[in-house]
């Protein structure tokens, strides 16, 4: 197990290097720079600015300076927001994105797994059709449609929640639902099909033949294997929940990292783009590793390898 973790971490290094390099090259290939604006700067002011940030150096030197700084954990100063470093921006915004992502994941699992089990046990019945229909709608509804619908009903209509913001605990409900229901719908479908496959197996029949309670058969023997595809899906899902929250953040005015991630590219804010891309890359690698470990633990055949 430990050697597996070590191997995976070592593999992560060239991956991250490749991501850093590609981002650097692509960013510098894109037309325009961080200091272009409607009112163009005088050549002197531009030269001064570029000198201040080291952008006057030849590109390969900039690249090496950048790599050296990353290794030291310094993602550099932000170009768009003067006075803020990329590290500070991530430190202030990521906890918010993480909280939103974690709550959404809870909602996704909390809805998805019970619905999936119910649908599987009601296989071929109208309940299954209805539940899977709802799940299909959930998958098809993009967040920028679901968010405003929830707002219309629960904020403008019923007045239960603030229309935007992230200050009181109630502010978490609608954004987390908006983001979580999509993944919940997907998880419901995965759980259902996993469950249907698993319930056909011989060991389930054996368990039943031993006279175990049906609840125990389904939840202990069935669910563990049925969740295998769900866990595999969680790696990309978690990454998506945490990095893909841009739209939800915009709709609900949540001070998360997604907004910086998207806007930095439009602003050609080199350091902020590269900082957020690398940060997300590390997260994705981490969660994929975590998922692998959980899968290994779930499967007795690999657990002892």
């Amino acid at each position: 197990m430990l050697s597996h973790i070590a191997r995976r971490l070592l593999q992560a290094i060239p991956t991250l290097w490749l991501i850093a390099t590609l981002t650097f090259v692509l960013l510098h290939l894109a037309p325009g720079g961080p200091f272009d604006s409607e009112k163009s700067l005088s050549p002197e002011a531009r030269a001064n600015l570029e000198a201040h940030y080291g952008l006057d150096l030849p590109l390969h030197q900039q690249y090496f300076v950048y790599l050296k700084n990353i290794i030291r954990g310094d993602l550099g100063p932000c170009y768009t927001f003067t006075g803020w470093s990329v590290d500070e921006i991530i430190a202030q915004s990521f906890p918010v994105s993480l909280e939103l992502g974690a709550l959404s994941l809870l909602i996704a699992l909390g809805f998805g797994i019970p619905l999936g089990i119910t649908a599987a046990l009601r296989h071929g019945k109208p309940t299954e059709t209805a539940l899977m229909g709802v799940a299909m709608v959930g998958i098809c509804l993009p967040t920028f449609v679901l968010g405003p619908i929830l707002l219309l009903v629960f904020s403008s209509g019923l007045g239960w929640f603030n229309p935007l913001g992230w200050s009181v605990p109630g502010d978490r409900v609608l954004p987390s639902l908006t983001l979580g229901l999509f993944y919940g719908a997907y998880i419901a479908r995965l759980t259902r099909s996993g469950m249907l496959d698993t319930l056909q197996n011989d060991y389930i029949r054996t368990a039943r033949a031993k006279g175990l309670r049906e609840g125990l058969v389904v939840l202990r023997h069935g669910l563990r294997n049925a969740l295998y595809p769900v866990v595999a899906y969680l790696g990309p899902a978690v990454a998506g929940l945490i990095s893909g929250s841009f739209i939800v953040e915009t709709i609900f005015f949540i001070p998360g990292l997604g907004m910086f991630f998207v806007n930095s590219a439009f602003n050609r804010d080199y350091t902020l783009v590269m900082g957020t891309v690398l940060f997300y890359a590390v997260l994705i690698i981490f969660f994929n590793l975590l998922v692998d470990l959980v899968q290994m633990w779930m499967n007795p055949r690999t657990r002892h390898d």
Partner: protein, 548 residues
């Protein structure tokens, strides 16, 4: 048997779970009586102001945009200020000033009450420090050219002069500041209200990286020292900035508000926040919502003329646009009123010249672009394209945006209908568009310009051949000479006359096609008093009262 027994299990499970979730939801939303920000703010004298986007910084020497200006106006004060209602110059840190007979030397006497939020007095030396800072090449201040009217400032900023003592600013005593100008500048006092001329607190700057450090923590809450009516209390990026009343301000009794919350809510969500009572003011009204507000709550919508013009730049080096007759034909066949009334709909004024009416107090250009399709067709025929025959197709370049597209489509149709010519629309992402425009790699490009100060010069200087923002390749020595002559002229009336000539010359050659003058639109809660109509978008927070 098995199944039946089991089915109870998950169903009850689902019920329990659903019940739990509803309970938590009710608990979360029902545990406190919810006051809106507006109700809370009206009681505590705090203004909630939606500014549309996160400011790019609060360092007055490094910022460039209107959003940043709207926040820093609360935090700093220059030598002079403007009256929010009349736009007249008012004393600021300087309580009085004298101008020499030749108009090149200004002597400012400081208000002894002017203090930093730390309690230190604001001194002439602080201003000298600020001028040296913004002009230092190493700082890379984007707007340092605003100080170029000061003697030797340009040379110092360009690194041609190393000794700051030769720049035209000095302090003969502890309460006097003398500023010498390169030449008489009629709008000099107006310039002083711009953030580039504001002071910074030298000990704070020195403590956080020094005079020329851009990457500095001095604008963070806790470190921040300013001299405005408010001081920075909290700043969470992308969430909120709170400026609290500054008890050390030179005239604390003039400040009614106890604080201002600046909320960078994206424009799409702003309206929702306003209608739910979370904002007193928004940064804008989205064009497609104007009609709804006009019908349902017209009293909450405000349109103020702005010091800005929307125009098309013509690349005068490209055929057939190098012919002034062609350029005039294009300009004369645009029905600007149709654009402002049916496309924009927010009270924008059609632009029949470049300088917004009323700039500099009383400048109204006499030269005027006619709307005359018949004359346009005649000009096009004279240029060799009767009824548009044989006219090569060209592109209108604009940055990707629904509003720019609508205008371009309308103009495309007008040109097709009136002149019989075909143009293509070509949009690019913002930074790509800026690069293309800078490289002059376009036929016609959309552009916009907001004045840096309230004087026709800020618009007309744009078309001077050596101006970095002149993208039309147009170069007319007579025009350049007029703009330079106006800069030297001391008599205000004579000066405006020279601008009239320059503007007439511009419309005769037509390197740019003005389309409309901008307005600022916003939603404003009825409790907000003292938010005056103002071409400069300058709203001193001292004037504001909240009357529920």
């Amino acid at each position: 048997m098995y199944r039946k027994k089991f089915l109870k299990y998950p169903r009850s499970w689902v019920h329990t779970f659903a019940g739990l979730l509803c309970g938590v939801a009710l608990l979360l939303c029902g545990c406190e009586p919810r006051l809106t920000n507006v109700e809370r703010g009206n009681a505590s004298r705090e203004l909630y102001y939606g500014i549309g986007t996160e400011p790019a910084g609060l360092d007055p020497h490094l910022i460039t945009g209107l959003v940043e200006m709207s926040v820093t106006t609360a935090l700093f004060e220059g030598l002079v200020t403007l009256d929010g209602e009349t736009s007249m110059i008012e004393p600021g840190v300087a309580q009085s000033w004298k101008v020499s007979d030749d108009g090149t030397t200004y002597t400012f006497s400081f208000d002894p009450e002017a203090r930093w939020s730390s309690g230190d007095p604001v001194t002439p030396d602080d201003f000298l420090y600020a001028f040296e800072r913004i002009l230092s090449p190493r700082l890379g201040a984007p707007y340092s050219k605003m100080l170029y009217v000061m003697k030797n400032a340009e040379a110092f900023n360009k690194g041609e002069l190393g000794d700051f003592s030769q720049v035209g600013a000095h302090a003969p005593d502890a309460s006097t500041l003398v500023i010498e100008l390169e030449q008489p500048t009629a709008y000099f006092l107006e310039l002083l209200t711009h953030c580039t001329w504001w002071p910074v607190h030298p000990p704070t700057i020195e403590k956080h990286g020094g005079m020329t450090a851009r990457i500095s923590d001095w604008t963070k809450p806790g470190n921040f020292i300013g001299n405005g009516p408010f001081t920075l209390e909290r700043w969470r990026i992308n969430s909120a900035i709170f400026a609290k009343k500054n008890p050390q301000y030179r005239d604390p009794d003039s400040v009614w508000l106890n604080g201002v919350h600046f909320l960078p809510i994206q424009v799409d969500a702003e309206e929702r926040a306003f209608r739910a009572g979370h904002l007193h003011l928004t940064s804008t009204v989205l064009p497609h919502r104007i009609e709804w507000f006009r019908q349902n709550m017209p009293e909450r919508m405000r349109f103020d003329p702005a010091l800005g013009v929307y125009f098309y730049v013509i690349n005068t080096k490209r055929k057939p646009l190098d012919d002034p007759r062609v350029r005039k034909a294009l300009a004369y066949s645009i029905n600007r009123e149709a654009i402002t009334d049916h496309v924009l709909k927010a009270g924008q004024e059609p632009a029949y010249n470049l300088t917004p009416p009323g700039t500099g107090g009383s400048y109204h250009a006499r030269a005027r672009i006619p709307y005359d399709p018949e004359l346009a067709r005649q000009l096009l025929a004279e240029a060799g394209y009767p009824n548009g025959e044989g006219f090569p197709s060209f592109d209108i370049l604009y940055n990707t945006s629904e509003a720019h597209r609508s205008i371009a489509v309308t103009i495309q149709q007008m040109w097709r209908k009136e002149l019989g010519i075909d143009v293509r629309l070509f949009n690019q992402e913002w930074k790509v568009y800026l690069t293309t425009r800078q490289a002059r790699d376009f036929d016609i490009a959309r552009a916009g310009w907001f004045g840096d100060y309230n004087d026709p010069n800020t618009f007309l200087d744009l078309n001077k051949s050596d101006n970095g923002n002149n993208h039309s390749n147009w170069n007319n020595p007579k025009y350049d000479a007029l703009i330079e002559q106006a800069a030297r002229e001391r008599d205000p009336e004579q000066r405006f006359e020279i601008f009239q000539k320059a503007e007439a010359l511009l419309l005769e050659d037509m390197p740019v096609i003005p389309i409309y003058f901008y307005v600022t639109s916003r939603l404003i809660h009825p409790s907000v008093q003292g938010w005056y109509r103002n071409i400069l978008e300058y709203h001193p927070y001292q004037d504001i009262r909240l009357v529920p």
